[in-house]
Amino acid sequence: MAQLAMNRPEVIQSLIDGVDRYNPDNISILEEYLATQCQNEEYDLMANLAALKLYQFNPHLTNDRVIINILAKALTAVPAPDFNLCLYLLTEPMIIDESIKQLTALHQLLEQSRYAKFWETYKSDSAYEQLVSEVRGFSRAIRSIVARVVSMTHQQIASSLLESYLDLSGDDFAAFVKEQNWELKGAIVQIPVNKDNEAKTVVIRENIKFEQLTKVIGYSNEM
């Protein structure tokens, strides 16, 4: 849910808001919408969950490729819990399917922030690339997840480490750093201070609301 679909078409909006979402005839609309998301590097969790819901109620409609695409899309939303929210709508026999198991393995690595291991696994078998092949800009999306987490956590990071997190090197790496407005200083990448990576001590002060005082004000009236 981190990325809200800003340009959700009206058709889809009214579909997921009303009882029409249960109408099996609408599955094709949701499937096409997913295809558009994959094409245009957009993401709309609510619509995709509505598609999974229709599969949940009408198992005969289930389209494995669509489920794979939805899950691959959800991978690009980490650290939001979207991937699991999709899994909950599937069934036990479905999630032990080989493709879904592979996607789940990738998801676990991302959740655990084992980025170097993620890329290693991802490239170890062409099956993985095949799974996410319909999601345009998949690698780019994963890299921006890494960038977000790294910039939340670090002010400075060794460039060799960052390279392994991003699976980039040389000019590509330099270009990526520049694109993020980070600074490459020798063997170190400098990340500007933001609200998540500054670690400042805050004293939380008590905030007294008017309602808390009503009783006391009441006493003063009695006097």
Binding site: M1, A2, V19, Y22, L45, M46, L49, K53, Q56, F57, P59, P79, A80, P81, N84, L85, L87, Y88, L89, T91, E92, P93, I95, Q108, E111, Q112, S113, R114, V149, V150, M152, T153, H154, Q155, Q156, I157, A158, L161, I188, D196, N197, E198, A199, K200, T201, V202, V203, I204, R205, E206, I208, Q212, L213, K215, V216, Y219
Partner: protein
């Protein structure tokens, strides 16, 4: 209160009770799984005499339903019915509707309402057979058809508590059916045939259809919007929605959908159902205590599953505080046991949330939590075989998940596979928890320092530096959560939910802890009140 002596005594006495032949003596089918009943469903002996007390009760009950006498119905429904159940029908069903039909002039509406109670009692105290389940479903269809498919709003008023119980029980029986349908081992062929030939009974679509129809008929969402934004309530409510019966059934159906979607594992949709309901003391759900408790339980649980721990904590602690404050009212209620159980489950869920997202709780709630789940909480906070603790608590406190589709009877291979939705949910949930088991330990170390090198901390923790780095990245991510600020329950901003924050500069960790300043105001306010009490006592003595 209910009196044993009615004027109608003679009326009841006139009724003949020859019932022998009408009763189908079907075999005593026990599906042997439901834990809700200890005694198996014993059909009544033939030609049983209905005690006079019961006859009188039924005629009196009937008259009050006809007269829409809400006040009296309230007592009859909540108190008398349960008292009589304990006295006469603790171990056997109430008389069948056909037997009491002469007492109530064959009033079909009343008989439908009566059957609703009749089956609910079987579910609660005995164990329902497949036939009972089917008949109960058909009875619900009759009831809802009567309410929904009439040319004018029906002239019927029932206490809110009863209306809530109807929706609540309808969903409970649906859930119970889904769970029992999947256990086809040890079932007779006849039963399997019944299940196979009647897929429409208790199907997901039909249950959702009822709930959505009630919402639409009552125009409850339109009413809630007017309530929130202003406007013409009468126009929004329409002919049906302005009747309390429709309005409340519509409202309770929203809460019902929250629950159904949660049982199906669709947590976002569950919370989306609540779009027009604001969680506050003025909300309609607070008029019926079990509804109030149910609402917060499912909202909190959905948040927990969406990893929005801070919101889950808020939901649970709000309702637990409420239950504590109103204890004296519901200890007497016939639903006390149920509320107490839900309450206990919510403490278990709260313990998990607190371990996952350390938060200061209200003092009272915190003490109760430590009393009930102190050991478990300590284990989860230390990260020592915490997974098994999470598993136990989850199993105890989660709702009874359902799978929407029955077994595929045409495929013998799939019949042997037990499709257990609980396993599915627990597996996903626990694998997510598993990723964060190191966080409490990490946290306890970071709390001790303001700066520390990665290598040193790694040595303390007996892990290698790379592993520690990934743990730190995860710690950071898990300390940021979506949290509700205003608007719909699904909305929220990403905020930091931890009092401990850090940043990494190359190989050094810089740590900062937020501190809570002293709460002077709170202290003074409490003591002013105490002082005022002392003065009041002194003045009283003079």
């Amino acid at each position: 209160m209910y009196h044993d002596n009615y004027e109608e005594d003679d009326l009841a006495a006139e009724v003949e009770l020859v019932t022998s032949a009408q009763y189908p003596q079907d075999a005593d089918v026990d599906d042997g799984f439901d834990s809700e009943g200890v005694v198996s469903s014993q059909k009544q002996p033939i030609a049983v005499e209905i005690p006079d007390t019961i006859k009188n009760f039924i005629t009196y009950f009937h008259r009050n339903v006809l007269e829409n006498n809400i006040y009296e119905l309230h007592t009859l429904y909540e108190v008398t019915f349960n008292k009589l159940t304990d006295r006469f029908y603790a171990k056997q069903p109430w008389p069948e509707a056909e037997l009491i039909s002469p007492l109530v002039d064959d009033d079909q509406v009343f008989l439908t309402l009566y059957r609703e109670l009749y089956y609910r009692h079987i579910y609660a105290r005995l164990s329902p057979s497949i036939q009972d389940r089917f008949h109960s479903y058909e009875n619900y269809c009759d009831l809802f058809n009567y309410i929904l498919n009439s040319d004018f709003p029906v002239n019927l008023e029932l206490p809110n508590q009863w209306l809530w119980d109807i929706i609540d029980e309808f969903i409970y029986q649906f859930q119970s059916f889904c769970n029992c349908r999947n256990r086809i081992k040890n079932r007779s062929e006849e039963e399997i045939a019944l299940l196979r030939d009647n897929p429409q009974i208790w199907s997901c679509y039909s249950v959702l259809n009822v709930l959505y129809s009630l919402i639409q008929k009552s125009r409850i969402n339109e009413q809630l919007l007017v309530n929130k934004n202003g406007g013409d309530m009468l126009e929004a409510a329409g002919e049906y929605g302005s009747r309390p019966l429709y309005k409340m059934l519509g409202y309770f159906s929203i809460i019902g959908l929250l629950r159904v979607h949660c049982l199906l594992g669709d947590y976002t949709l569950a919370l989306k159902m609540m779009d027009n309901i604001e969680l506050n003391k003025k909300a309609l759900f607070s008029r019926v205590i079990p509804c109030h408790v149910t609402t917060y339980y499912y909202v909190g649980f959905s948040y927990l599953m969406m990893r929005r721990y801070a919101d889950a904590i808020r939901a649970f602690s709000t309702v637990l505080t409420f239950i504590q404050r109103t204890k004296q009212y519901h200890t007497r209620s016939y639903q006390f046991d149920q509320i107490a159980k839900k309450c206990d489950q919510m403490y278990a869920l709260l313990a998990m949330c607190i371990a996952l997202c350390p938060t200061r709780l209200d003092e009272n709630i915190h003490n109760h939590l430590r009393e009930k789940y102190g050991d478990q909480l300590a284990k989860m906070q230390k990260g020592e075989d915490s997974i098994s603790v999470y598993e136990d608590l989850f199993q105890y406190a989660c709702p009874k998940f359902i799978s929407p589709n029955g077994p595929n009877f045409d495929d013998p291979a799939s019949l042997s596979q037990v499709n257990e939705p609980y396993q599915h949910h627990a597996k996903i949930f626990l694998s997510d928890i598993h990723n964060q088991t190191m966080i409490p330990t990490l946290r306890s170390f970071l709390k001790l320092y303001t700066t520390m090198s990665i290598d040193k901390l790694a040595a303390f923790l007996e892990m290698d530096a790379d592993e520690l780095r990934t743990q730190l990245l995860m710690f950071k991510q898990r300390s940021r959560q979506q949290k509700w600020i205003t608007g719909n329950l699904l909305e929220g901003d990403i905020v930091s939910t931890s009092d401990l924050d850090f940043c990494i500069k190359q190989d050094m960790i810089h740590i900062a802890e937020s501190k809570v300043g002293r709460r002077y105001g709170d202290w003074f306010l409490r003591n002013i009140t105490r002082f005022q009490d002392v003065i009041a006592t002194l003045e009283h003595k003079n």
